[in-house]
């Protein structure tokens, strides 16, 4: 028990100490410190089932759990072919020496049972292989066709049990699905599970392009920008449950770069008037619009701190794009980035401790994080073109999109979703059906 917690604390402490390293400040180097933080070895035999159906579900559920844990970068799932013991019941004590022999530190044992009402019950125990202790146990009841969500909930339980932090696996991602040539791109809104399963189109992409969707932190609602032909683009609201959409206000100028406030009651956005863009906040119940910046420079990409007190945004008032913060009423505006190149698309972490951003420097694009006071900048990834970071609801993982260069013969130019953890070590492609951009992570599902 002690040993496990120590290992995981090391993992997180390491991430923090990287953040403090002064050598990385303001420099365009990727912080890929191949430190001694090893992922924890976890064994997860297929969840037990009494008949063919529950055995099949058990296999599928275990696959989803292992994939979640593996992709987090904190766990190394040991190949099932190495397992010696085959658990017969979720209620028996494992033969710990068998699991120690294959170097597992944690063992996840589960069972799928069919209930009399047709639903299934997924029961799970998490064992410490070295102390022979149970670390936690949980059971979920759900309709059989909802087994994926049950699996993500189990993975979230394991994550929480072993790290002490809330997981992020039972979540969804909205994004822009892209098809067609770059000159005439069809961009429609899609939603999928966090691991890329169950992609569903939400708009048809016929009359406008969908750009920059964002999830409400409190409701099944999205805000995005619709880019039309021949008239200025406008911010929209989209209700995921009903499919209803509505334009948020009716303005002569373009409205864009929308983002919900943490309480879900307001939408921050930029509005353009006579060519100049400033930041406004709209109250969703009264539809009253409040101006927050009034500057002859471009002010875009507002994002509010989780306590609702501060707003970060991009402005070129200093000559190039940099990130600024201000109070929620627009007062006390100050610049927080001073490195070379351009800093854009700030997104406040749901934990409040960091702001993710896109930095352009020397012809390359980077995703990085910085503390809200401007200290501790760290760059996590780098490529030809990447932007649009979005946080996992626990503030530990950032998803973004990356576009490759288009070669002279017209090949290339693919746009894909990626995720990276705060250490920068765990960079993963996120599976999407075709090209994708502008991901937005949902809160944990209720």
């Amino acid at each position: 028990m002690k040993k496990i917690l120590t290992i995981l604390l090391t993992a997180f402490v390491a991430a923090v100490s990287l953040a403090l390293s002064p050598a990385t400040a303001q420099r365009a180097t990727i912080d890929i410190t191949q430190g001694n933080v090893d992922p924890m070895p976890v064994a997860a035999p297929d969840f037990i089932g009494a008949d063919e159906q529950t055995m099949g579900l058990g296999r599928d559920i275990t696959g989803v759990i292992m994939n979640d844990l593996d992709r987090s970068g904190l766990f190394q799932v040991i190949d099932q072919r190495a397992y010696i013991q085959k658990p017969e019941s979720v209620n028996e004590r494992p033969r710990f020496p068998d699991w120690r022999l294959i170097k597992a530190e944690v063992l996840i044992v589960g069972e799928v049972q069919e209930l009399s009402d047709g639903r299934i019950q997924v029961s799970t125990r998490v064992w410490d292989v070295y102390s022979n202790e149970q670390l936690g146990a949980v059971a979920f009841k759900t309709p059989a066709d909802n087994w994926r969500r049950a699996a993500h909930k189990v993975a979230d339980f394991v994550y929480k049990t072993l790290t002490g932090e809330t997981g992020y696996f039972d979540t969804r991602v909205v994004f822009v699905h892209e098809t067609g040539p770059k000159e005439n791109r069809v961009k429609r809104l899609m939603i999928m599970d966090q691991d890329g399963a169950n992609p569903i189109p939400l708009t048809d992409g016929l009359n406008y392009q969908v750009l920059t969707p964002r999830f409400s932190p409190t409701q099944q609602q999205i805000t995005y920008m619709a880019l039309f032909d021949n008239r200025p683009g406008q911010v929209y609201l989209f209700n995921i449950e009903t499919g209803e959409q509505e334009q948020l206000g009716n303005f002569r100028g373009m409205t864009f770069a929308p983002r919900f406030s943490p309480d879900g009651r307001k939408v921050l956005m930029s509005m353009e008037r006579s060519g100049n863009s400033d930041i406004f906040m709209m109250d969703l119940s009264t539809r009253r619009l409040t101006r927050l910046t009034d500057n002859p420079a471009i002010d875009v990409s507002p994002t509010m701190s989780p306590d609702g007190r501060r707003i970060a945004f991009t402005s070129d008032r200093g000559g190039t794009q940099q990130i600024y913060t201000m109070n929620a009423d627009g007062t006390n505006q100050k610049r927080i980035t001073f490195g070379e190149g351009r800093y854009q698309t700030p997104v406040w972490s749901p934990r409040g401790d960091l702001v993710a951003f896109t930095r352009q420097y020397n012809g390359r694009f980077y995703i990085g994080v910085i503390r809200p006071d401007g200290s501790g900048e760290r760059l996590l990834t780098e490529s030809y073109l990447e932007e649009g970071p979005t946080w996992s609801p626990n503030g530990r993982v950032i998803m973004f999109y990356r576009q490759t260069a288009t070669r002279r013969d017209g090949s290339g130019g693919e746009s894909q979703l990626w995720s990276v953890d705060l250490t920068g070590r765990n960079l993963r492609r996120v599976r999407t059906p075709g090209d994708a951009s502008d991901p937005a992570w949902s809160p944990l599902l209720p």
Binding site: E183, K187, T212, R231, P232, G275, T314, Q360, G388
Partner: protein
């Protein structure tokens, strides 16, 4: 009348293809062999998009991250203004565009700046502001999809399109 507009529309779209190569800054011209447009001995129909493109040019180009008008851009816009005075019933859309070397949201704002810069210059030359609407497409409507300096230069523009001939 309908017929006239249809013909004009065809000319306009043909001319669009050729204009990319003829007015762009420093561009590979290898793929322009198919742009021979037979506009007849009398040239494009006066007052049409094709006419605007031939007599004035419908695109002006900007430097990286810039929205100030170069002397070349001012010269093109002066010709547009003169043309617009000749056809006072015409209404236009000025669209601001950006290259892919920027973030989506900033480029939407920058495209609005570019459209506004072109519009303001036209207005300063006496074109009625009420005849001009502006739109920004950010980096979402590249002319040249390739990731080359030449393509980026081409994609940083404001483009003038006739929305109504007033007739």
């Amino acid at each position: 009348m309908n017929k006239f507009l249809k013909v004009a529309g065809i000319f306009a779209s043909l001319a669009l293809i050729s204009a990319c190569a003829s007015t762009g800054p420093d561009v590979d011209t290898t793929d322009t062999s198919d742009t021979m447009v037979d506009t007849g001995p009398s040239g494009p129909v006066p007052g049409t998009q094709a006419d605007l493109e031939q007599s004035a040019g419908h695109r002006v180009f900007f430097g990286f991250d810039q929205y100030t008008l170069t002397t070349e851009a001012q010269s093109t816009l002066s010709k547009q203004a003169a043309w617009l005075k000749e056809y006072p019933e015409t209404r236009i859309l000025v669209a601001g565009n950006c290259d892919e070397r920027g973030t989506r949201e900033y480029n939407l704002a920058l495209g609005a700046r570019r459209a506004e810069a072109a519009k303001s210059y036209l207005v300063s030359l006496g074109v009625d502001a009420a005849r001009i609407t502006t739109v920004s497409y950010g980096k979402e409507r590249p002319i040249d999809p390739r990731s080359t300096e030449a393509a980026w230069a081409m994609n940083r523009n404001s483009t003038t399109t006739i929305t109504s001939t007033g007739a």
